[in-house]
């Protein structure tokens, strides 16, 4: 129902955009609108990097420069190598022509603008991967500084290689685009329409990426990198993808910008430009596609159209209220100051930006808000017990050290398929470390970990998920700003195959996969009855503690694991909810899922576990059925102290 006003707004904007040059024939206004569109495109690109993937890039203008100079060099008189046979096929392809000069025949590059748009995008993406590959694994703030460095280096290099770029003096003679014989020349209108087309295309691409497996993976990385990798997202690969696609947007825009300006100087691409694009993204709404477009348009158009008018109004206001400095303030020279203020104020008071990327949530009925705990466990699961009882997970002689601290020592553990094994022990005994070691979040110093016969000790977390191990975390790591449904769908990441191209093109195969994934996710949510399903579109952060726990388990189930590792799943639940969840875990196991469980509540352990393993100070001190372990002296001593043994 809310989509109709939104659709109308989009239609209205599109119509306005297309009709604008016909209504306002002023060439200068069309020109500044075209410039504003270029910045909207840049903001969209940075939005993918900063908004979707959460990577702060402070040197984004570097890619803008690369795209600009790529076109500039490929279609101007700057480079004139001597003619030779090598260039014949290129002339045949109309990419170069042979030019007669006094000093002999030379090559003149005249690659078509339309061809350069994707090529420049590709070149920029290549540099994105080149910069990103060694640096994207850095922490957020370090990454920001490194990108700042790139942003500084690129214009300096452009300035220092005058043979290629004409250095500080700027390129001469960059060719204007030609469209079936029509030369764009200097008139702003054709550029304006190209700008509209580019921005529309980029909006579509951004939107499609956002609502796809790729977008979910990016946002998962942004929200919680560790949980994302544990759910199967290859974070290095996806960070690189975001970086490269963002760079591609900037590269294409650079080509457009320089084609319009017909010159390029290194000073056009320096740090203030990168900051400006960031201000546009922050102002418009980090992560919101339409938000950053509106933000960019408003800030650009503010600068070119309305600044003088605004200054006049302020002068008039100053005269009206008798404040002297108001009468003399010139906004044009203070505009940088204003943008700095915008940045600070937005961060302090409205971090979501002008048009937030948030979603709309439906209010819940009273019934949906209060749900009685049920005791039957899951009733509509498919049975997956194949009868095998071989060890699914085998840990032999595992040791994990953090510097001088020995977290785990000589740990042996074997989890038979289709069983429930509980790991218990006092705080600090190494239980979570054990989980982290198995799932690849922590490196092991010694020992082997075998899963279904395969050695997995060296694998990265997303690879471990891929092999069939899914986990939850002791302190619940959901993706707070994603909806419950989206959280669960991230869990499916490794089981889906759509790539960026598929996401953008929305081929039937992709649409089918998305629909099926969504259905499966809803099915999993429905396992928890009315607790999660009504809240499917709500942001995960808004859920109660217990519901967040359930969502996390649902997310893990979505990965279709063979082994489910739960770290204190009932922590923080009241007794009724605890028993409800315990029943649910039991039913999961009955239908074939192997469960490895860390638990403190010994009644749950007694109820569920086939085998109990006790850790203390990083070592296994007991193992066996729950009843036996409960009476074991070592265990009592570990939990309750020496004197308790003799009680």
């Amino acid at each position: 129902m809310t989509r109709t006003p939104a659709r109308l707004a989009v239609f209205g904007i599109t119509a306005a955009a297309l009709l604008f040059p016909l209504v306002n024939q002023n060439d200068a206004d069309i020109d500044s609108a075209a410039n504003a569109l270029a910045f909207a495109a840049l903001a969209l690109g940075l939005n993918i990097v900063v908004g979707f993937a959460g990577l702060l890039d402070l040197g984004y203008a570097a890619f803008f420069a690369i795209g600009a100079y790529a076109y500039g060099v490929a279609s101007s008189w700057q480079l004139q190598p001597a003619w030779s046979g090598f260039w014949e096929p290129f002339q045949w392809l109309d990419l170069v022509i042979r030019f007669h000069t006094a000093g002999g025949d030379v090559v003149h590059f005249q690659v078509s603008f339309w061809l350069m748009l994707p090529i420049a995008a590709a070149i920029a993406a290549f540099f994105g991967v080149l910069f990103g590959a060694p640096t994207l694994r850095l922490k957020g703030d370090y990454l920001a500084i490194v990108t700042l460095g790139f942003g500084e280096i690129v214009p300096i290099v452009a300035r220092n290689i005058p043979s290629v770029t004409n250095g500080a003096m700027g390129l001469n003679g960059v060719a204007a685009p030609r469209f079936f014989g029509f030369d764009f020349g200097i008139d702003a209108t054709p550029y304006y329409y190209v700008g509209v087309a580019i921005v529309a295309f980029l909006i579509l691409t951004s939107q499609r990426l956002k609502d796809s497996r790729i977008g979910r993976a990016w946002m998962a990385i942004r929200e919680d990198e560790v949980a994302a990798t544990a759910m199967g997202v290859d974070r290095v690969r996806y960070k690189l993808l975001a970086f490269a696609i963002g760079a591609a947007f900037a590269g294409a825009t650079g080509t457009f910008y320089v084609a319009k300006l017909q010159t390029a100087t290194p000073e056009m691409f320096m740090f203030p430009v990168s900051v400006m694009i960031l201000v546009m993204v922050v102002f418009g709404g980090i992560g919101s596609v339409w938000g950053v477009v509106v933000g960019a348009l408003i800030l650009q158009i503010l600068q070119s159209w309305f600044l003088e008018d605004l200054s006049e109004w302020l002068h008039a206001l100053g005269r009206f209220v008798g404040v002297d400095w108001l009468q003399h303030v010139e906004l044009a020279s203070s505009i940088e100051l204003i943008f700095g203020l915008i940045l600070v104020l937005m961060m302090l008071y409205r971090r979501e930006g002008l048009i937030p990327a948030a979603r709309r949530t439906r209010t819940l009925s009273l019934d949906e808000q209060t749900v009685q705990p049920a005791r039957s466990g899951f009733t509509n699961l498919a049975a997956r017990d194949d009868g095998s009882r071989l060890p699914l997970l085998e840990i032999v002689d595992l040791a994990v050290r953090f510097g001088g601290l020995v977290a785990l020592q000589s740990v042996e553990l074997s989890v038979p398929a289709h069983s429930v094994v509980a790991v218990i022990g006092p705080n600090g005994s190494g239980k979570s470390t054990l989980f982290n070691a198995v799932t690849g979040l922590v490196p092991t110093d010694q020992g082997t970990i075998r899963f279904a016969g395969e050695e997995i000790g060296r694998l990265r977390p997303h690879q471990v998920l891929d092999r069939g191990i899914a986990r939850t975390f002791q302190n619940i790591r959901l993706f707070p700003n994603l909806s419950v449904l989206e959280n669960v769908m991230v869990g499916m990441h490794a089981r889906l195959v759509t790539g960026p191209v598929g996401a953008v093109l929305r081929l039937p195969a992709t649409r089918g996969e998305e629909a099926a994934a969504r259905e499966r996710a809803l099915e999993i949510l429905s396992l928890f009855g009315n607790r999660l399903l009504p809240r499917a579109e709500h942001p995960a952060a808004s859920l109660s503690y217990a519901n967040r726990r359930r969502t996390e388990i649902a997310r893990a189930l979505a990965a279709q694991p063979k082994l489910l590792m739960l770290d204190e799943p009932t922590a923080g639940m009241n007794p009724a909810e605890t028993l409800e969840l315990a029943d649910q875990i039991g039913s999961l196991n009955r239908y074939g899922l192997t469960v490895l469980l860390i638990e403190h509540k010994l009644d749950v352990v007694a109820m569920l576990a086939d085998k109990v393993v006790v850790l203390d100070h990083g070592e296994k001190i007991a193992e066996g059925p729950p009843a036996a372990v409960r009476r074991d002296e070592e265990v009592i001593r570990a939990y309750l102290g020496r004197s308790a043994v003799f009680a």
Partner: protein
């Protein structure tokens, strides 16, 4: 129930549409007024210099208006800013937009500016298409008026980018001649400030110096945002050339002058018109600035008796001394005013095409002497004046006209 998000989207649409509609302008029919566009970077790092240029031009225009205008036509000024916050300084894209604005405004018959050649490259093709001539008081990159690039910068063929300064094609080489002939320099080290102007003038200086047999011991580029140039200056000291040449503006220039006085006290030191101005005197001060040579791409103003009253009027009106480019801007305005007068006198309508043609055939007495243009729009009188900073205690230390001693004209290349 509308969500807030959609509401904002709708409001934005309405605002945008409203904005678009309000931009439709009706052509203002003004009687007996003509407009001159002035395009300068009032935002960002070049703002200060832009103000000085504007003041120079406005002085001439206001004086003309006070006397009834040019041939009875009142002069209105359309001030445009080609500096943006995005670039932090002049922005060629904004300059292009401004050029379109001026072309679209039928009342604009001529323009003054731009300040920076980077803007000029973006503006020139648009102005040419629109037959709107501009005179720049400070853009010295030779490419824009070079016939080699005419297809790019004046597609309609006629000169459109006039200048009241000589280009770097002369300022650099003529100083090299001066170094060779007058200062008898045998070896030189060349520095530039990595800006478009600095690189250009240093390049032309270096090329001519080599032609004249001066050994160029090295060439390097300074970062104007950096403060410490001791590294380069020490390196130069170790190479021990006879002289140093600095091509660039005052931002780096002040620091070069200051630090060179410590590290290279005895060397012959000179530069282009970026070193000529109050900022050098104020920023570097004495004794550091003493002894530096500087050139300007115009004849010496002080020699011309007409200069003094103009300088006085400028100082009175704006409270500070005019700079080199304030004078060239003043002269640029004079050229346009003269062109308008001649068009009116010939009985033709004051159109921009007529004004352009009149400018092409200008022969105007100005502070920098008689101004005439060649077929490309460049000054025909390619005088490069050489100055040396010599401390004159009778005047305040930042008094440009008295602390820079005129030495003569730099030798033209044969």
């Amino acid at each position: 129930m509308l969500s807030r998000r959609v509401l904002i989207l709708q409001l934005s649409t309405t605002a945008l549409v409203g904005a678009l509609v309000s931009r439709i302008r009706s052509a203002a029919a003004a009687d007996k007024t003509v407009k001159i566009g002035i395009n300068l970077p009032f935002t960002g790092a070049d703002a200060h210099d832009a103000e000085l240029i504007k003041d120079g031009a406005l002085l001439a225009i206001d004086e003309a208006n006070a006397q009834g205008g040019a041939a009875g036509y009142k002069i209105e000024v359309l001030l445009l800013d080609d500096g943006t916050a995005t670039a932090g300084q002049y922005d060629p894209a904004q300059a292009a937009t401004n050029a379109r604005k001026m072309v679209a405004d039928k009342g604009v018959v001529a323009a003054i500016g731009p300040q920076m050649s980077g803007s000029g490259k973006a503006m020139s093709p648009i102005l040419s298409q629109g037959d709107l001539a501009t005179i720049t008081p400070s853009s010295t990159n030779p490419d824009i008026t070079d016939p080699k690039f005419a297809g790019q910068y004046r597609p309609k063929g006629k000169a459109i980018y006039f200048r009241t300064v000589t280009t770097d094609a002369f300022q650099g080489p003529n100083m090299a001649n001066y170094y060779a002939d007058v200062l008898k320099v045998k070896s030189v080290y060349v520095l530039d400030d990595s800006g478009a102007y600095g690189v250009g003038i240093a390049d032309t200086f270096q090329a001519q110096a080599e032609k004249r047999g001066i050994k160029v011991l090295g060439r390097d580029q300074l970062n104007p945002k950096e403060t410490d140039y001791a590294t380069t200056l020490t390196k130069i000291k170790s190479l021990n050339p006879d002289a140093l040449y600095y091509g660039g503006v005052a931002q780096a220039g002040v620091k070069v002058v200051k630090q060179a006085s410590d590290i290279l006290p005895k060397m012959i030191k000179g530069g282009g018109d970026g070193l000529y101005g109050a900022e050098i005197l104020r920023g570097a001060g004495f004794p550091a600035a003493a002894g530096w040579y500087a050139t300007i791409a115009a004849p010496n103003i002080l020699e011309n008796a007409e200069a003094a009253p103009v300088i006085d009027r400028f100082a009175k009106k704006y409270g500070q001394q005019p700079e080199n480019y304030s004078i060239t801007a003043y002269d640029a305005a004079l050229v346009i005013l003269d062109a308008i007068k001649r068009v009116a006198a010939s009985g033709k309508e004051i159109t921009r095409e007529a004004v352009r043609d009149a400018m092409q055939t200008a022969r105007v007495e100005t502070i920098q002497g008689e101004i005439t243009f060649d077929e490309n729009g460049d000054l025909q009188n390619r005088v490069i004046s050489v100055f040396r900073i010599v401390k004159d205690d009778k005047y305040p230390p930042d008094d440009v006209l008295h602390q820079y001693k005129y030495l003569g004209v730099a030798p033209q290349s044969s």
